[in-house]
Symmetry: C2
Subunit: 416 residues, 2 copies
Amino acid sequence: MINVAVLGYGVVGSGVVEIIKKNSLSISKKAFKEIKVKKILDIRDFPDSPERELITKNPDDVFDDPQIDIVVETIGGATIAYDFTKKALSMGKHVVTSNKELVATHGPELLALARQNQVNYLFEASVGGGIPIIRPLNRCLAANEIHSIVGILNGTTNYILSQMKREGKDFDVALKEAQKNGYAEADPTADIEGHDSCRKIAILSSIAYNEFVDYKFIYTEGITKISLTDLKYAESMNSTIKLIAFSEKIDDKIVAWVSPVIIGNGHPLAGVEDVFNAILINGDAIGEAMFYGRGAGKLPTASAVVADIIEVVKHLGSFGGYNWSLAEGDNVLDVMETQTRYMVRIKIKDHKNAKNDVTKVFNKIEWLNAFNMDNEEELAFVTEKVLEKDMRQNLEKLKQSEAVEEVINSIKVMEA
Amino acid sequence: MINVAVLGYGVVGSGVVEIIKKNSLSISKKAFKEIKVKKILDIRDFPDSPERELITKNPDDVFDDPQIDIVVETIGGATIAYDFTKKALSMGKHVVTSNKELVATHGPELLALARQNQVNYLFEASVGGGIPIIRPLNRCLAANEIHSIVGILNGTTNYILSQMKREGKDFDVALKEAQKNGYAEADPTADIEGHDSCRKIAILSSIAYNEFVDYKFIYTEGITKISLTDLKYAESMNSTIKLIAFSEKIDDKIVAWVSPVIIGNGHPLAGVEDVFNAILINGDAIGEAMFYGRGAGKLPTASAVVADIIEVVKHLGSFGGYNWSLAEGDNVLDVMETQTRYMVRIKIKDHKNAKNDVTKVFNKIEWLNAFNMDNEEELAFVTEKVLEKDMRQNLEKLKQSEAVEEVINSIKVMEA
């Protein structure tokens, strides 16, 4: 019998308890041992919960109980969760979590602590919800040198973009609807500004390249500036707009960013709709592989947590964590040195001179038909691949042109 | 240092040796130990191979060497491979293989033998080539009760169907081209008759439902009867034809079959083209998840073998195999009791009477426009869901109709 304590009885935590109860037979068959939730730690009261007898507000009930082998941390954030995780690992308890913020922030320290104490710190649920991705990346693709990861890692923003495209709803309307349907939180900042995707691509990159990639050095841009008109331009390019989390290993540097991207409809990620997530991996032996499924939600995420618990139980004797050395961020290439194509929209005062100025600033461009407004009011074009630092300078130059009123938007373009 | 012996220096075997050499640094970093190929067993001569000093024709060089911990079996088939695998496991050596035939035929016995000897018998490479699917199914989705598996598991047939559809080539022409391009073997029977897919869905089902599913009880139909006209009918239904390997757990029975299927273009598998494989998993907690990638080929398959080697090395102390009880096939539902919709094409002598007879035989059908031939020569329709045994009786009845010349084809229909 293996005893588990669940810290934080919220959406994911209660899902973990639910799955362990519901699928207990098949779980014990797979783990070769019975698994039981012995304690649930939460500061709230749950007088009507069927689990109320397991619930405690006293952390000592968990940490001082030598019979508790595995601690599930589903508190979230990097404060109390950080303290509790350190305490559990120090006391020789395995920790399983869905907390991407904590892993992305203190991963190297916590993994080292787990190693010292010969226990596991596992976090399959921190990326991609129920989609198996961390273990496949680390284990199943272990024989590959991973070249790149391209993913839709945030269900909220993908739902909003899907709604905008399909239903023609403005960003604000789509966001409110996502909140109403429980797909977006009351404070949606972490999702719509790309921070959630940023932490996830940092974790995936750390696993794939076997070195810690600090999320603080990953350039991150959300979808708040994406308009219906941008989506229409994308459509005219036989493309769509997705919030893409990207990372690529080039020599000993890692290129990583999170940004809205115009991707061709032939791209495997173009068809990923609504709250679904998908992750495209490119490795030297396997070529391209894709993982697709529900990237969030109570049961998918909880099922990933429980899978980690089973993993711990199956290999109680051994442990096989990750060895992330603490990087100072110098393994991430400065975003200014990365290059990509851009779709640029500018509001103009003088059509002919603006066109002239654009061609003076940019080497080679492809004009798009400005179908939304009068041709006299807007220009749109796609650039060649251009270094980020040059791109920013070029946009500054455009803004200084007498013929240009403003740069409306510039969005990365990626082909299939 | 962990020593590996490779049995069978063919496509996959040589790929394994290549990957271990090429990615040795990152592999040893992941396995926490150095991995070396010490011997290669093959009856052929390889005088020009850079590995010729490792190659031996004497099995004793492998089995009598106590320093060899892991045996890679890439011989294929269920004769010599069977003997060597039993021998290796009995002697306490771990075995890693890509041999789907052996796993599907003697899996329960070999897994039990591995268990007795406290070693691993791993076969990630037996299904889906480089796509991580067996370990994710067993480990990452361990907390789920798996409801169903729907897959495109054979690259050769998917390539042929893609060529037929896209280039309008007949089956025979597409097959010859596949052979020329190395996508089909000189004797393509196992692929085009569905046997390869059958063994693979048997293995996946055994993992998913945690009980041995014997491939011999899985109804299997290949793609040799699929014509360009069938594909055109599918197109007119906004669908396409794929060779689908299917399994579903219903109460304590398993429904499993391999067959060409007309699937809606909205189905996630419809867009899987050429030699790619994809596997759709439905579990109670995760909902739907899909795995996509190259299902065959030297390096993808070899990378899955090497991943299993790393897995063994990481957990040398422990082992966690599968516990497949030997079933007598009575866990598989008789195909006659399964039901599905069908698209049926019949060649007719008398249009009006044939139509009458069809509506007499089938409860409710939907007529299709017979666009390929004259309306007077052919009828085509889609049935409701019908039991397989009733379907076969119905087709017999149709054949007996005076107005019907022959049943040209009947193909399963599945919606998204």
